[in-house]
Symmetry: C2
Subunit: 313 residues, 2 copies
Amino acid sequence: MKTLITGGGGFIGSRLAAALRARDPGERIRLLDVAFPPGLEKAFECIAGDVSSPAVIASALGNDTDTVFHLAAVVSGGAEMDFDLGYRVNLDGTRALLEACRKLERPPRFVFASSVAAFGGVLPDVLDDGTTPAPQTSYGTQKVIGEYLVADFTRKGMIDGRSLRLPTVVVRPGEPNLAASSFASGIIREPLAGVPSDCPVPDTTGVWILSPRRVVAAFIHAVELASSAWPTTRVVNLPGITLTVREMIDAMGRVAGREAVERVTFKPDARIQGIVQTWPVRFRTDRALAMGFRADGDFESIVRDHLEGGRAA
Amino acid sequence: MKTLITGGGGFIGSRLAAALRARDPGERIRLLDVAFPPGLEKAFECIAGDVSSPAVIASALGNDTDTVFHLAAVVSGGAEMDFDLGYRVNLDGTRALLEACRKLERPPRFVFASSVAAFGGVLPDVLDDGTTPAPQTSYGTQKVIGEYLVADFTRKGMIDGRSLRLPTVVVRPGEPNLAASSFASGIIREPLAGVPSDCPVPDTTGVWILSPRRVVAAFIHAVELASSAWPTTRVVNLPGITLTVREMIDAMGRVAGREAVERVTFKPDARIQGIVQTWPVRFRTDRALAMGFRADGDFESIVRDHLEGGRAA
């Protein structure tokens, strides 16, 4: 019994590993990523390599692998800037991993991190489980294609797949990254750390949000659900909460005071706005709620959890 | 100015080539396929080769190529029986062709033959332009993935893509093939030729139908439409007509007499039924009708057109 987490060196991947270990101290957990933060290799078996390389993937899987969390990806802004890199990692990498899983003696449970970036274009005010994905980025396209591959490999009995469309995860720790959604964490994380933050979108911009704690809980819930709990599409829109940038900043102010709020400056960035404004903001997630997935209660508790280092996640 | 038709050795591809030539005798038309029927090479430049080979594809495109019709595919039953072959030709081949188009000096118009097999699973009684694809075959999965690639390459300005979800094309001439829908032509074609035909599905089975003549017209209409006429998804469900197997056979009887009807025998085939019963039967195709695509008037005229060899197509 062994678990593989691709993207395991990343923020969510490493928190997921810690949560799985806390759930079952005996669980053998292997992480695959291009690099790992210091210390992680003491706690977990870490394989550093190209997550789109079939040879690297093969070395990370064994016939005792019964669970795979596939989180590795070139983020939205990165895949938009480097078309080839995005397709190589996000499409070829996913397919190579599925092909490697297919060769295992027993089909593993396979949880795929998809994204709200699956949706775009002409959207209803409130999206629901019947809304057709129409991504407006290469990243979103690659995620939707991954979902369809997961469904087909599952239908063929090669894996037992489950895809989660993640809302924007806020508050991410660490440095800003190339994700177009990076600002949504930055405008909270930096001010709380006493650092100024530039917000590239207007404060009226809506964001569909899930906390790191809830995302990790969703991955674990996804893998624990019986296969029969999943629709044939094997995909679910995770629940979240909708806030405008202004509401997020105000909630931060209520937790951390006026000084934090004043550290946010609005500096419009047309490239970021162009991507973010194609993302959906409001959802009805009936299916996910019926399956037992849960959203956060309010944004203040997300801010407090971040200040406490998310230790309980 | 040059046109490439992949799958150009096939029934629809070669009829499309002839129709394009009839429209404009000066049009330079190149056909790419694994093989060609006798005579075709006299009329068109034919390139025989693996349609999923990047080298073969590169040899078929030139900087003067301004139009690509991508019809080449492993059919539904074939892709279901040989998983690797289906993905290699239907996914890798489509992607290789798109990559080759991206390298051309000017983005070509790119018409992609998708399929009603995009739909399956839990379906409404009548599908419409908002129904989310949920294929229940690898073929359908590969077609949906192709649509998303066409949309993303178009969004990036690499091609000017247009995807058509084809109904079941009836009456196809020639031999039965591995398409699960092969019977829908067989039960008309064989009796009309004085040959017995086994129908593998019950006579209550509904089929969503478009004639060869209308399919060819749809490809030409698709490429002639302005780019702005297409939605950002670049895909449209083509109009068709819905008939049960019984209604098809009865219509044949009205055209060709009782003897033709008596040549059909029902021999249930669980594998074929399993695929066909996942396909949708009734559509509202408002978008396609507004864009100027047209369905057939009735099935009798499809039968008559087949008897006349479809010469006017």
